[in-house]
Assembly symmetry: C2
Homo-oligomer: 363 residues x 2
């Protein structure tokens, strides 16, 4: 693979720029800082598609008034351990952290807390929310539905988002196990990268607009669809499809948001669905007290043991053994704290465009 | 594929036989009926590997005193919505339903309930538990860890079970969405079927004892391993591996049961792990009040709509469109209620062997 040209930026520079862009649209000070923090978490952990690379989408949506910069977030319904929150069409980067805190507060009082969210927008990386739970010694869960990109197994059109699931478990001396995964075989960003490079994509990633297997990235992008995790029936594509439905129902149907093919887009280039079945997109957060099940310290020591046992697995040929979920992100974080965040030129140009339009200095 | 010879039995005959076998070992009357009901649910829904086909394993374990027929199930720790239950090494078919009821009771009082279980054994199909939750208008979750069969991505040995996840969502006029899936690319039973037929297995299912990709079922069975859902790095094998860890930690570590490669076997032919890190295997159950989030009736109507929208997806070439999770099991149930449960000859011989040894009449 050819190396792509990048330029390094200190994380703080990117976070400050995001923060000022949100302030520019009248987002309250605390919310702007919160939103910038979520984006920075993605840039730090190497999830480049979900950090400042997405700032221009937020910029566009705020410019057009499609996202409410000053939402009044409301609890629509609750029990001691469940709630549905209306995000008032605010930034998911603000509504998400709010709802996540609500879930964590319930968990600290009653053992667990579960919050579905409607009328919200793209919330950044799911992993951010479980990291916040880990800071409070809770097991955190986070899911969100999203714009349609994925075909159901045996379907020939986009019906589901890449609908991620995240969960985290704290260690004592070892770092936490942090699972953060889309339920599609692959991220859309990887199709775009292959197209830019003029390379084919592997089998099992996508179908074309007629639902035929394809290795041509253009065939997926031009009206085709991603495949669910597992790819085909033989290898378990019905399972990835089932997981995507699980996330969609918990986030979309349970909250009263849109679901499936009706989920609104997060970027201007995407089509607006012909039908609306709820409000905005949906998230789902969970938090559980470890002490509600087992002594917290003994749990953490077992997680240390777990990580060491799995790191010591006999390696597959040519590999140095399995990773622990969260390892690659921690590796990226370490490197980027020292060296900065690498931005590719198209992202840089987008940030410069925002800078020009808002007169907020950048670079 | 060659058709395998089978003989049909009314479900009631199989359930009664299981019931009497459990009674034979001193399992209390109510527990024996419960255990037989869980097995029958698998036979009815077409999950043949988890029904009476597994009765001989329970028979062996009870004969050797490795499963406690009269457990004293205890709550080790609880908050209003979380608990850990000690199954006292009872049948998972008895401990599981008990713990699941505990979770559902909490959900009815406080909105949600979450129960981890240690010191238990194989609990049948995960789907059974979410069906029980649906009967009480709850969204149910069920997971269990199990004997090692699956290699972590980039590993060359069995470290994880096939660790299933199940969840169910009720419809109003449409039947429920019931997701019940192992986190491996494929079930072990499919490898055994290929071996019996002398057929190769598809790429992406398994590695041999050195961790090399293999299409030889014998290479997997003789010291090789199944691959996680997603199969390889390119197609998301790290995601299936992450899901298997999630299930293992919630069921095993959180409850104080064994986890990973230390999970004890459920059949005599499997090796006993060299190390013990907890008690028995582990389960994890969850239940949530729908009304804790949204009006129950409106949720069910949305699920109806969801099912109809997904059934109407443009089909892939040569297919009649996507299924809804639970469709194949409902199809099997309908057929088997009318025609009976087909048993293959090896299973029939095992049941006759039990009949001979216990003098309980069969067939």
């Amino acid at each position: 693979m050819a190396e792509v040209e990048t330029k390094l930026f200190p994380l703080e520079v990117l976070r400050d720029f995001s923060n000022q862009v949100f302030l520019h649209f009248g987002v309250p000070k605390h919310d702007a800082a919160q939103a910038a923090e979520v984006l920075a978490a993605a840039d730090l952990r190497g999830i480049d598609s979900h950090g400042v690379a997405r700032l221009h989408s937020y910029f566009d949506m705020l410019t057009l008034g499609r996202i409410n910069p000053r939402p009044e977030i409301k609890v629509l319904r609750s029990t001691p351990t469940t709630a549905t929150i209306d995000g008032d069409n605010g930034l998911g980067l603000v509504v998400g952290p709010h709802a996540n805190r609500f879930a964590m507060d319930m968990a600290e009082r009653f053992g667990s807390g579960w919050v579905s969210v409607q009328n919200t927008n793209h919330y950044g990386i799911a992993g951010y929310y479980v990291l916040k739970a880990l800071e409070r010694n809770l097991i955190g869960w986070a899911m969100t539905n999203s714009t349609k990109l994925v075909a159901p197994l045996w379907g020939a059109e986009r019906m589901l988002g890449t609908n991620p699931i995240a969960i985290g478990f704290p260690g004592k001396q070892e770092p936490a196990i942090v699972i953060d995964m889309a339920t599609s075989a692959v991220a859309y960003g990887k199709i775009e990268i292959a197209r830019r490079r003029g390379e084919p994509i592997p089998e099992g990633w996508a179908v074309d607009s007629e639902g035929r297997d394809t290795t041509d990235p253009n065939a997926m992008i031009n009206g085709g669809a991603l495949l669910p995790l597992g790819s085909d029936r033989e290898r378990g594509g019905h399972k990835g499809y089932g997981l995507a439905i699980m996330v969609d129902v918990l986030c979309g149907v349970l909250s009263g948001a849109n679901w499936g093919p009706f989920t609104p887009p997060f970027a201007l280039r995407q089509e607006i669905p012909s039908r609306s079945v709820g409000n905005g997109i949906g998230h789902f957060f969970g938090a559980m007290q470890i002490d509600g099940f087992i002594d917290r310290d003994s749990f953490k020591r077992q997680i240390d043991d777990y990580i060491r046992v799995f790191h010591a697995t006999k390696p597959a040929p040519g590999r140095s053994g399995p990773l622990i979920p969260g390892d690659p992100e921690r590796e990226a974080e370490k490197w980027r704290r020292e060296n900065g965040v690498p931005l590719v030129l198209p992202v840089l140009e987008e940030l410069r465009d925002i800078s020009k339009k808002t007169r907020i200095p950048f670079d």
